[in-house]
């Protein structure tokens, strides 16, 4: 799939990167993905895992919830984090956790150890990029899956369908927010608090699923937008506007159930 993108004053052909379901990706793919995450964890500056995890809660607190900026802000968040990972491996994309059809956390994120080594998709150190530290802060991510018995367990297919049937952006935002919160509450532990949630690697797969839900809903509701008064508002910290988040293809990615490609009459690189 290609689109024409504007890049530094010249027109160039850009290939969209496709995000895929974690349950459909091969073990070899996750082997590479784990290496990328490990490298992101090693980067102790504004290109690294701890920096991006800190956007959501401790220490920066830029995320939005219960607000029409919820979906746009998290779309931009995933975009910048994914680009940081693509600086390490240009082919990597963030996978989604399909909690609409699967009844547990994807295996790649649930295994404590892989190949005799600690799995960085299961748990990582929490080392916020701030000089202010509190002894009560957690040192590693952890989960308490299903610990609140009254939380709805997955799969959340009926809730997904209910969200997709929303007739307006405002109603979709309300429905998907309720579902989003339930997922955080079901995973619990680190994922259960805004302050720490983004340090848990499953956070990203959960939010890619939320972003995918919005993308699919947009397919069926072309032109539906967040409230006009926020469309040109820049989102912290990098200033992407709400309007700029509306088209995932303009951001260089899309969601694929399946994707296949064959050479055309003028294959890329063919002169």
């Amino acid at each position: 799939m290609t689109v024409v993108a504007q890049a530094k004053g010249r027109r160039t052909r850009a290939r969209l990167k496709l995000r895929r379901s974690a349950t459909k990706l091969e073990d070899e793919w996750f082997e590479s993905f784990r290496d990328v995450i490990k490298e992101a964890l090693r980067r102790r500056d504004d290109r690294g895992y701890q920096y991006f995890a800190g956007w959501h809660g401790v220490p920066f607190g830029w995320c939005w919830h219960g607000d029409p900026r919820f979906l746009p802000w998290h779309r931009a968040y995933l975009y910048y984090f994914e680009l940081a990972l693509q600086d390490i491996d240009p082919d990597v994309t963030l996978p989604w956790w399909d909690w609409a059809t699967s009844d547990d956390i994807p295996r790649a994120y649930a295994l404590r150890r892989v190949g005799g080594k600690a799995n960085p998709l299961f748990s990582v150190a929490i080392e916020p990029m701030t000089s202010r530290r509190d002894p009560s802060w957690p040192r590693r991510t952890s989960r308490a899956v299903g610990s609140v018995a009254i939380t709805l367990p997955p799969p959340w297919r009926d809730r997904w369908d209910w969200a997709q049937q929303a007739p307006s952006f405002t109603e979709f935002d309300r429905r998907i927010s309720l579902l989003h919160n339930n997922v955080h509450g079901w995973v619990a532990g680190t994922m259960g608090e805004v302050a720490w949630a983004a340090y848990d690697p499953i956070f990203w797969a959960h939010h890619v699923m939320i972003d995918r839900a919005w993308r699919i809903w947009q397919h069926n509701h072309p032109g539906a937008r967040p409230p006009a008064e926020i469309l040109d508002e820049p989102l912290e910290p990098r200033g992407m506007t709400v309007r700029e988040t509306l088209d995932v293809k303009a951001l260089g990615y899309d969601y694929a159930g399946t994707a296949a490609r064959v050479p055309g009459t003028r294959p890329a690189g063919g002169g």
């Binding site: 308490a144 018995a149 309300r174 309720l178 919160n181 955080h184 509450g185 805004v194």
Partner: protein, 144 residues
């Protein structure tokens, strides 16, 4: 576990203009502190954390508040300020209370002929915490 029961909310029934949808609006929901799950029951006070989502116990709807967690900043970091001036263009504080809307139409219809609703909420925190359910008002809104 925290349980709260509302004062009765009138549910006017007009045969000429029957309602098609009934919403509960939790207004000014605070979301600092611990995350929690809240289950809402209609005209049934005798519920607790073990009652669950049982429609025969008049369960109407549930929601999770994905809350901020303990304050990680300095003094008053999590205090929601008033706008500094009419020229203050900063976005609102992230802990500005939220409104949560629940569609309880099916649960109300299951009650049959009632002219008022008493709403009981059972809230269970994801980590040990009490009094997590904090909000300013509860509204019952019907749509014809």
């Amino acid at each position: 576990m925290q349980r709260w029961t509302s004062k009765p909310l009138p549910l006017p029934v007009d045969p000429q203009a029957p309602y098609k949808r009934v919403d509960l609006e939790f207004e000014g929901v605070e979301h600092d502190g611990s995350s929690y799950v809240a289950l809402v029951y209609l005209n049934n006070r005798r519920v607790d954390a073990d009652t669950g989502r049982d429609p025969t116990k008049r369960f109407a709807a549930g929601f999770t508040v994905f809350a901020h967690g303990d304050c990680w900043g300095g003094d008053d970091h999590c205090k929601v300020p008033e706008p500094a001036s009419p020229f203050d263009r900063r976005p609102e504080h992230r802990l500005t209370p939220q409104n949560i809307t629940l569609d309880i139409t099916d649960a109300v219809e299951a009650l049959g002929d009632v002219d008022q609703l008493e709403v009981t909420v059972v809230a269970t925190a994801t980590i040990d915490s009490e009094d997590v359910l904090r909000f300013s008002d509860l509204s019952l809104v019907t749509y014809e």
